[in-house]
Amino acid sequence: MILSTSVSKATKQLMMANYLNFGLLAFIGSSMMVWPCDGQGVPNNATYPLATSRTGSNALQPFRFYAGIHAAAQQFRVASPTYYTQEVVIRPLYVFVGYQFGPHLGVQVGFLQHNPPSASYSNTSFNQAGQLIEGHGYQDWYNGAVPILLRYRLARRPTHRLHLDALLGVTVEFNHYLGDDMVTVGGQVQYHVHVDSRPTNTYLTAGLGAEYDVTPHVGLMVEGTANRNTTALDADYARKPTFGLGAGLRYRFNIGRSTEQRQL
């Protein structure tokens, strides 16, 4: 029920921001909270995720922190005041760390980046007047993103080894595009454009993930997310949702003594 409340709030916020399409996506993802849970072996006063052992014994382990790594690809449309809107894909790794507030809700911060080697080009041709046309240029990209997401386990009691998570939050994308194009005709410069664009875009991010707990510490995850640019509200192309996929591992742990240990 906590989920219903939070989703309702989130949905209202989305509607207030007039992000109807995106809100619908978040709602659909969150409404899939039909995962069966029986709460077997779980104390009623559990306050954060409890994972059963492989044998299903009562070896319950509460964990406050988690870290993960995914093989991932996230697509973004990056708007810039000084250059065209670019569609970029950040891959191949996504790392994140998180803190678990309770059995359902956690918050996580991640990072992913893509920094391909620069590329250059050179073209040679002749015009009708027999003058040599030469074109030269280069491009260099950097894209990095920091998703800050709430992770909500879509289960009344978080004891099943296989479960779904809803994700909602913001992603900040840092783009650097360095480009240069020059065309000479007969040795005379006819066209020269130099671009050094460093926009930062913010996206509303929502997603859905599935996780299978291999051990109390380790889970195998797959996630799909959608991003909508909130920076370039005047650019339809930039506002269109983009998507991402990831699959990998999550490791849960405590720093210092666990709650159980402290209680002892």
């Binding site: 894909v89 893509h114 391909p116 080697p117 620069s118 590329a119 250059s120 080009y121 050179s122 073209n123 040679t124 041709s125 002749f126 015009n127 009708q128 027999g130 040599l132 046309i133 030469e134 074109g135 030269h136 240029g137 491009q139 990209w141």
Partner: protein, 295 residues
């Protein structure tokens, strides 16, 4: 007499240089500087970071330090104290002579080769280009047999495979390139420009950089399975992918040529223009350039 002698001497020096490069390529000689290596020598191909080899430009002091003519008129690569082909300034005494080899250039072009005047291309323009390669001289896997090959190795002196460019003037025998299959504009027609993209292996990151140029493909014989071929394949240096355009808004039909030289300052015959990029950039070997001439 006074003008004939230098010309004769110069010709001998050129011949000596070509013989030297040939012997190194066949493994009969070694070049201590590391610029020239035996054919088939492969550079480590680590992703994103490839081996680069030194390169000395004929006519410069650095070239003269590494290559000399001995008293028999043969080119001698000067032995140096150093490891891994990295030259130090301490040279091993040798009977190397004092004169450096002369700048030596070879040029081969499509002009006059495989003429065609069919109704579908009455002016005999070059209709398509392909890149091919092989482990033996003359092998050109990737260039269809209906194409004419310019037998000037684009890896000359740098090891690796033999790489050639081939052309056709006959539209009916031209390969159906991916851009034509995808019905992209100006995918079919006379070639009006030639170019390059230098990049690493992340082709999808820079899909727009070559516009309006398309790759000069290696024809694999598989529909939509053509490959872009690195012109420094197996030899290190810069990743270089050749491109062409058939968009008439960017030029007039051209002939193509290949210039190979031990000098970066070598020029093609009159009427030809040399493209700016050395096709062996960073890979040692000869300085090699595509050249074009308006048809």
């Amino acid at each position: 007499m006074s003008t004939a002698k230098p010309a004769e001497k110069f010709s001998q020096a050129q011949t000596a240089w070509l013989r030297f490069v040939d012997k190194v390529e066949r493994g009969e000689l070694q070049d201590p500087s590391g610029q020239y290596v035996a054919k088939g020598t492969k550079a480590a191909d680590a992703t994103g970071s490839r081996i680069t080899r030194p390169k000395f430009n004929a006519g410069t002091a650095a070239f003269a330090e590494h290559y000399r003519l001995n008293k028999n008129g043969e080119v001698v690569a000067v032995p140096v104290l150093g490891e891994g082909g990295v030259a130090s300034k301490e040279y091993v005494p040798c009977d190397c002579g004092d004169l450096p080899p002369a700048p030596t250039t070879t040029f081969i072009s499509s002009q006059g080769l495989a003429p065609y005047s069919g109704a579908d291309n009455p002016n005999g323009y070059i209709w398509d280009l392909k890149i091919g390669h092989g482990s033996a001289q003359g092998d050109h896997d990737g260039i269809p047999s209906s194409y004419t090959v310019l037998y000037s190795d684009l890896n000359k002196g740098a090891g690796g495979p033999f790489i050639y460019i081939g052309f056709t003037r006959v539209p009916s025998t031209a390969s159906e390139n991916p851009e034509a299959i995808n019905a992209q504009p100006y995918a079919v027609g006379p070639v009006v420009g030639i170019g390059y993209v230098t990049k690493c292996c992340y082709t999808s990151d820079y899909t727009n950089i070559r516009y309006p140029y398309f790759p000069i493909w290696k024809d694999t014989g598989v529909r939509l399975g053509f490959r872009e071929y690195d012109l420094n394949e197996g030899v290190g240096g810069t990743y270089i992918h050749a491109t062409l355009t058939k968009n008439p808004g960017f030029g007039v039909p051209i002939e193509v040529g290949v210039l190979s030289s031990n000098s970066a300052n070598a020029q093609p015959p009159a009427g030809w223009a040399k493209a700016s990029l050395d096709l062996n950039e960073g890979a040692g070997g000869d300085f090699i350039y595509f050249c074009i001439k308006s048809h």
